[in-house]
């Protein structure tokens, strides 16, 4: 089984997680830039973080046979801090990088005017750079947040088939699907989806344009949730082709819109013969 986790924050995970993910079948991840738990106070700390997503983290992933790409953006929560807003001015030089496969996570947290501005500006940046967009939907006041998000998407230069709206659930899936956007679901203990509800949604709405992610980060989360969904899909009668579609082909198709997806794991063994062991022989 091959798995592509289209939304996981590996910066917050251990190297053991990479080993476990590889053993579970994960061969590719996309790491969206996000809020780190502690609010940042200056653009420079964003740049170090972006550099890490373009440098150290792909190296760490490659050691375990996992292709790593990222999405970069000023996240909704920190878009509200005027000290961080200058990040928007520097994003263009980052959005040209080979491993950047979307603008994201953008979207709403508290639905403020500053978030409106950052969302619209970054949808435009995505259009300007030939990139799709990964749009977070808020955890509070979610349905209203989804509707406002879709309004902004429709007013933007980016067509809905280049937008992934994420963190959907039973209350938002129908309107999101009707919008023509790609549909992201985070299987995340306590606050988002779980495996059984995910399988029920797949049964009700089908696998078309559906992406399932772990959104694993520094919270109570599980980087193997993608595999657990796949296993439950099989146990509940879905075919292997449908599992592959949701957990591999759909994320490849969505992020492939960037023209920058490269699923060959880069060699880290420039150097060294023992490396194939670390790479899991993949």
């Amino acid at each position: 089984m091959r798995i592509f986790d289209p939304h996981i924050h590996m910066t917050s995970r251990t190297t053991d997680d990479y080993a476990a993910m590889h053993a579970a079948g994960v061969r590719a991840v996309v790491e969206p830039s996000f809020w780190l738990g502690q609010p940042r106070t200056s653009p420079a700390t964003f740049f170090d973080y972006f550099d890490s997503l373009l440098g150290w983290e792909p190296f760490r992933a490659a050691q375990y046979g996992i292709a790593h790409h990222c999405t970069l953006a000023l996240n909704p929560k920190e878009a509200n801090d005027p000290r961080c807003a200058p990040v928007l001015d520097e994003l263009p030089r980052y959005l040209v990088k080979d491993q950047v496969v979307a603008v994201g996570e953008i979207g709403y947290d508290s639905m403020t005017a500053a978030e409106d501005t950052a969302l619209a500006a970054q949808l435009q940046l995505a259009a300007d750079h030939g990139l799709p967009a990964l749009v977070h939907t808020p955890h509070r006041d979610k349905l209203a947040g989804l509707r406002r998000t879709l309004d902004v998407v429709h007013e933007s230069a980016l067509s809905p088939d280049r937008v992934l709206v994420d963190h959907l659930n039973e209350t938002t899936v129908k309107e999101a699907k009707d919008s023509g956007c790609w549909l992201g679901f985070s299987v995340y203990p306590d606050t988002k989806m779980d495996e059984a509800r995910m399988v029920a949604i797949l049964r009700a709405y089908g696998p078309e344009q559906v992406l399932v992610n772990s959104a694993a980060d520094w919270g109570r989360s599980d980087p193997l949730k993608t595999r657990r969904v796949a296993d439950l899909m099989l146990a509940e009668g879905f075919g292997e082709d449908e599992v592959d579609r949701v957990l591999w082909q759909n994320p490849v198709a969505f992020y492939g819109l960037s023209g920058r997806l490269n699923l060959d794991v880069p060699g880290t063994d420039a150097t060294h013969e023992g490396n194939s062991i670390l790479r899991g022989g993949a």
Binding site: L54, G55, F59, D98, V265, D269, T271, E273, G274
Partner: protein, 287 residues
């Protein structure tokens, strides 16, 4: 071929000589352990076959090391392996860079080309393409610093490979020092090339060699290893201490360590049996 990148001032004889040197590194028969050479282990993996539209039967899996190959030879190698659209893209990128060299505004046009070289030429050719663009833009230490510090790991590696072609003096040593502080073995391997051989101070050079051993970077990557290690008593002491520490912990000592130890002190007695080839010198973790 109207390419302005070719090294025009090089005499024919010297040119042939350097090309032969570069070619010898393409010959697997000449390469001791099979993983010698830095540049060919590109982003796309070390053993990827390149397709050669010209039907070239040279070992297509081997890209010449970007730091050791004259740009003119690197250019010929690359254009023979790129597809039509990638070749056209490269030609335009080199022409733009040559027409407007140096840094301009927040990001120069040729810096954009550096950023997109992987997806335009394929990851396995990105190093060479980036080195050629830097060369065409006549990037000096300032421009190279900007590209390095604003670059992805792949771009930083290309800058390190470009240093011996573009910077005569020691002013770019801070870039090498930065790379040597990382734990990314691809950057470490690129950092110990010809530029470091020429300009790194003895103390930092010794630590670079030890770090290679520690993180599992083959010492074949270290340019001028023989010359710089020979008779270096301090390096010999550091190596012997490292071997003793590994032995005390019940860990194997990498064969590379003995190779360098013998260079630095031919009378040294190995304190423990060498590890099998391929045993890592360390686990890559340094913190």
């Amino acid at each position: 071929m109207t390419h302005r990148h070719t090294t025009r001032n090089t005499s024919r004889a010297a040119h042939t000589e350097t090309d032969r040197d570069a070619q010898s590194q393409l010959d697997p028969g000449n390469s001791t352990p099979a993983r010698a050479g830095a540049g060919r282990k590109g982003f796309g993996g070390p053993d990827r076959a390149s397709t050669s539209p010209s039907g070239d039967t040279a070992p297509a899996t081997l890209t010449p090391p970007s730091a050791l190959t004259p740009p003119s030879a690197l250019y010929r190698h690359l254009v023979a392996r790129l597809g039509e659209s990638a070749r056209a893209w490269l030609e335009q990128a080199l022409t733009e860079a040559a027409a407007q060299p140096g840094i301009h505004g927040p990001i120069s046009t040729w810096e954009l080309r550096i950023a997109e070289a992987g997806r335009r030429c394929g990851p396995e050719h990105a190093d060479a393409a980036r080195v050629l663009i830097l060369h065409a833009a006549r990037a000096g230490a300032d421009a190279l610093s900007r590209v390095y510090f604003q670059g992805t790991a792949a771009e930083r590696r290309a800058v390190l490979h470009a240093l011996p072609h573009l910077v005569a003096g020691p002013e770019a040593v801070p870039l090498v020092e930065d790379a040597l502080r990382t734990n990314d073995t691809r950057l470490l391997a690129a950092a110990v090339g010809p530029y470091a051989a020429r300009h790194l101070s003895p103390h930092l050079w010794r630590h670079a060699v030890l770090k290679c051993l520690f993180t599992g970077v083959a010492v074949d990557e270290v340019t001028d290893l023989d010359r710089r290690a020979r008779g270096d008593g301090e390096l010999a002491r550091m190596l012997a201490d490292h071997a003793a520490e590994r032995t005390a912990a019940g860990r194997a000592v990498p064969q590379d360590l003995y190779r360098v130890l013998t260079l630095s002190d031919p009378t040294a007695t190995p304190p423990a049996p060498a590890a099998e080839p391929g045993v890592r010198g360390g686990d890559g973790k340094e913190s």
